[in-house]
């Protein structure tokens, strides 16, 4: 098995497992962490392609994804804290009334 194929398969697996976690888990914090896992899978594919093609743009995109992930967590965690303060639960079922 080729190195690139191995890394791309790992990236696909990480992204899909993250998506599966977001869908099947009930805990808000675990869902946030699964979203981080999806971003990590995308990062791995970008680094693999950048390494393969010798292009710098992949590394630049990875850096930008780092910034976006940090900003996402910085905004999402206060929101989760406020939600938990109001409903006293991390369970997703407690927030069904947020459904539009």
């Amino acid at each position: 098995m080729d190195k690139v194929q191995l890394l791309l398969s790992l990236a696909i697996a990480l992204f899909s497992i993250g998506l599966l976690g977001v869908i099947v888990r009930r805990n808000l914090l675990v869902m946030l962490m699964c979203m981080e896992l999806m971003l990590n899978g995308v990062n791995l594919s970008l680094v693999t392609f950048a390494h393969q093609m010798g292009e710098m743009v992949g590394a630049v995109l990875v850096f930008l994804i780092f910034v976006v992930a940090t900003a996402e967590i910085a905004v999402a965690i206060p929101i989760v804290l406020l939600l938990v303060k109001r409903k006293h639960s991390l369970d997703l079922g407690a927030y069904m009334d947020l459904k539009g």
Binding site: Q5, G21, N27, L37, G54, V60
Partner: protein, 172 residues
């Protein structure tokens, strides 16, 4: 002789790191308590950092460990410790979407692996050697300076949003 042994060592290490990252990701789905899930995610991120180091992009490996493990996950661990561990979400970790989610997961894996398996790009001769921080920094500030500036706007927006969320709650 020594060169080939070192090359094989690289491949073995890459396999070990990839297997570790995959096991960590699978544990994230299976484990019940958020703190254990966070630990599994941290181990996955560290293994990915090792893979980046093996690929020769050392600065991204350093960013991975510093930003993801050092900042994002420490923040996450703090929040997990702040919240109640005896939450109903722990008793029943999976939602009603378990079966459709797993079916979609299998289909997604099937489609993505089928699409990428045979069409992996061939390496360009002589350039796939990894690149250093210097080239990265020059490319960043010569070609991608607009994106670099836009990240600062994004960070300011995130700070303002975080402060606004907390203030809104205090007033309400």
């Amino acid at each position: 002789m020594i060169e080939s042994a070192l090359g094989r060592l690289d491949d073995v290490l890459l396999l070990i790191f990839a297997a570790g990252a995959l096991v960590g990701a699978l544990l994230m789905i299976v484990l019940r308590e958020p703190m254990r899930v966070a630990t599994a995610l941290i181990s996955t991120m560290v293994f990915l950092g090792g893979i980046y180091g093996l690929l020769g992009v050392h600065f991204i490996a350093a960013f991975q460990v510093l930003i993801y493990v050092g900042a994002v996950m420490v923040f996450m661990v703090y929040v997990i410790m702040m919240l109640d561990p005896r939450d109903p979400a722990i008793q029943q970790p999976f939602s009603k979407m378990l079966v459709p989610g797993v079916v979609g997961f299998v289909l997604l894996i099937f489609v993505l692996v089928g699409a990428t398996w045979k069409q992996a790009p061939a390496p360009l001769p002589g350039v796939a050697e990894g690149f250093g921080l210097q080239q990265f920094a020059v490319a960043f500030l010569r070609q991608y300076w607009l994106q670099f500036e836009l990240t600062s706007v994004l960070l300011v927006a995130a700070i303002v949003a975080a402060v606004a969320v907390v203030k809104l709650h205090r007033r309400g």
